[in-house]
């Protein structure tokens, strides 16, 4: 027997939502939320921006009491009739799971042509990665992914959970949200270092689609370094391996690399866009082997997944999209921590790099030089 981990006071990411995002990465065209109409509303809408339809069985008080089996069967049939999707997902909610709804029975009864990924999930898990895992298990059952990819994903999820517990938003009982340092001040410092001939590593270690904006920081630094004539002082790391991950995730890496085109040379690929929790090890080896004498590092995406030992002696500038990530990063020893507010909504449904506030600030300051 083992005692459970610490309880977190602030609301955590939802496993239902995590399941929905995973279904999207599995190229599901329509996801049905079996539960109340308001469940996961904000993310359902965001996902629609990202090209997947999210519909709800809209269970009401009557549904809670009498069950929603028939509504789910109806909805499955309606979805097939109206959208003719090639792949469908059904996701549980707290309500439907508490009252013991069987997604599988409804799927059998609806008898559709398209494969249906059933995810029996509610939001009562401390690790929201459970939602991802359940979705992947079900995808494995219906033959959409193979065992090898499933095990790879499982490993990455465990690592992601570890990172969050050790250094992330699940590391403390309560974390005060923060907007981080002022971008203008930090941009000035970066330019100052570049002008002083200091050498910097720009690390993109981003989670999936968030890379569309974090990659802009790599691009902006490159532009500014070129302008100042010190482009040789910057090396670029990025987790943009196009051969790893679920279908949609590989595509993101391709889009971003294509958009960087000839402007930016990525010196070191440190894994795929789903490997952000483990890319730190590769960063560490690379730095030890080749870049030990560098003066500063700009890390965008999931900076807390990069081990501090590997960054020893460098001035750290980190950019995250989580306001609750600021304090943990400061505690780890990152001097400058910036938050790209509202990053996620801006990176859903895009296929090109999206301008970041920090990138824009660095560019503007460089112009004013």
């Amino acid at each position: 027997m083992q005692q459970k981990n610490l309880s977190i006071m602030h609301p955590r990411p939802s496993s239902i939502v995590a399941a929905l995002y995973t279904l999207r990465d599995l190229n599901v065209e329509v996801a049905i939320l079996h539960g109340p109409p308001g469940c996961s509303f904000k993310h359902a809408r965001l996902l629609e921006e990202d090209g997947i339809r999210v519909v709800t069985t809209a269970l009401d008080e009557n549904g809670f009491v009498f069950g929603g089996h028939d509504r789910l069967v109806d909805m499955l049939q309606k979805v097939e009739e109206r959208f003719s999707p090639k792949r469908i997902g059904v996701v549980g909610t707290c309500v439907s799971m508490i009252i013991g709804e069987e997604l599988h029975e409804a799927v059998m009864e609806a008898n559709l042509d398209a494969p249906v990924i059933e995810v029996e999930v509610h939001a009562g898990y401390n690790d929201n990665t459970k939602g991802v895992l359940f979705a992947l298990e079900s995808a494995l059952d219906v033959g959409i992914i193979d065992r090898q990819e499933f095990e790879r994903q499982q490993h990455l999820l465990n690592e992601a959970t570890n990172v969050e517990k050790k250094y992330g938003a699940a590391s403390k009982e309560y974390l005060e949200p923060s907007r981080g340092d002022v971008k203008y001040t930090v941009a000035k410092r970066v330019i100052e270092m570049l002008k002083a001939g200091k050498k910097g590593i720009c690390i993109l270690n981003a989670k999936k689609e968030t890379a569309y904006m974090f990659a802009d920081i790599t691009v902006a630094l490159q532009e500014v370094a070129e302008k100042l004539g010190v482009e040789d002082n910057i090396v670029n790391f990025a987790n943009l391996d196009t051969g790893l991950g679920l279908p949609r995730v590989r595509q993101h890496a391709e889009h971003i690399l294509a958009d960087m085109h000839d402007n930016v040379k990525i010196d070191e690929i440190i894994g795929g866009l789903d490997e952000y929790p483990i890319a730190g090890q590769q960063v560490r080896q690379l730095i030890e082997a080749k870049y030990k004498d560098f003066d500063f590092a700009v890390i965008a995406g999931v900076p807390h997944a990069i081990p501090m030992e590997s960054l020893e002696g460098m001035e750290l500038i980190s950019i995250t999209n989580g306001p609750r990530q600021v304090h943990p990063l400061k505690d780890m020893g990152h001097e400058h921590v910036l938050v790209e507010i509202d990053l996620h909504p801006k990176t859903l449904g895009v296929t090109n790099i999206v301008e970041s506030e920090f990138g824009a600030t660095v560019r503007q300051l460089a112009r004013e030089e």
């Binding site: 027997m1 083992q2 005692q3 459970k4 508490i98 009252i99 013991g100 069987e102």
Partner: protein
């Protein structure tokens, strides 16, 4: 080897499901079968007579404390003739949701239990009537493939039994037989036989009301263990043999309330 039997016993609360289940478990163990009994009632009294009156920690007790549970030593305990005993447990009366408790515990058990696979018979002693989704979790999660319904000849237990038949048809589960646990009411055997026939099933055992069952229970033992030479022990043995050899199950057709009243008049 015969395929594994996984049965659930349903019936009105207080009608004697647990004592029937534990005596059947003991009788099957006497025959040399590997038996597991999973009590799903918050009272956790399914296994107590197999364990000499000792209560075991329930799955939900451990989950409540936030433990990561393992099978052996945590939730599966060996009782009379190596019968494996598990209790699901439940929340305090009036708090939380017992139905959800069953769902969670059953899922947990399914995940952690290796020994379940080695059993010849697994008996789910489920609570009372099928009142909500949670109470049918053992069936819905694919753990049970046959159901028995326990009743007496009184109107209320029959009403509950009839309701259970409705529930079973809804979840496409077959009924393997009706068991009468007698309350010594008039024309009892006749009434329950008739009920069983009309729903399309049959009366597989008539357990007479005898003080010895109560006495053994009070002492914390099954009839088979403490009073194995009695007639009533033989009734349980016959029922156990019937269960182990039965291969005829039906889709029960529930009666109308009117017909049910007529039967018991």
């Amino acid at each position: 080897m015969n395929p594994q039997k996984r049965i659930a016993i349903y019936g009105k609360g207080g009608i004697g499901k647990s004592s029937t289940a534990s005596n059947v478990a003991a009788a099957c163990a006497d025959e040399g079968y590997n038996v597991m009994i999973i009590g799903c009632d918050p009272k956790s009294d399914s296994s107590i007579t197999l364990l000499g009156g000792k209560r075991i920690p329930t799955i939900l007790d451990l989950l409540r404390e936030g433990m990561e549970i393992e099978e052996e030593g945590d939730v599966v305990f060996e009782g009379y003739k190596a019968v494996k005993c598990v209790e699901v447990g439940g929340p305090e009366p009036g708090i939380g949701c017992a139905g959800r408790g069953i769902i969670v515990a059953i899922q947990k058990l399914k995940k952690i239990s290796q020994s379940m696979k080695e059993m010849d018979l697994i008996i789910y002693d489920v609570p009372g009537d099928i009142v909500c989704g949670g109470f049918v979790a053992p069936i819905r999660k694919g753990l049970v493939n046959e159901a028995y319904v326990l009743t007496s000849g009184e109107y209320m237990p029959l009403y509950a039994a009839n309701n259970i038949c409705k529930g079973l048809s809804r979840i496409n589960t077959k009924l393997s037989g009706v068991i009468c646990n007698s309350r010594s009411v008039s024309r009892e055997k006749e009434i329950v036989s008739k009920f069983a026939n009309e729903i399309g099933s049959e009366l597989v055992a008539f357990i007479p009301k005898e003080q010895i069952v109560q006495d053994c229970e009070r002492d914390g033992y099954s009839v088979l263990e403490k009073a194995g030479g009695t007639d009533i022990a033989e009734v349980y043995r016959a029922l156990a043999r019937n269960i182990m050899s039965s291969d005829c199950a039906v889709d029960p057709r529930a009666l109308t309330d009117e017909r049910l009243r007529e039967l018991t008049r």
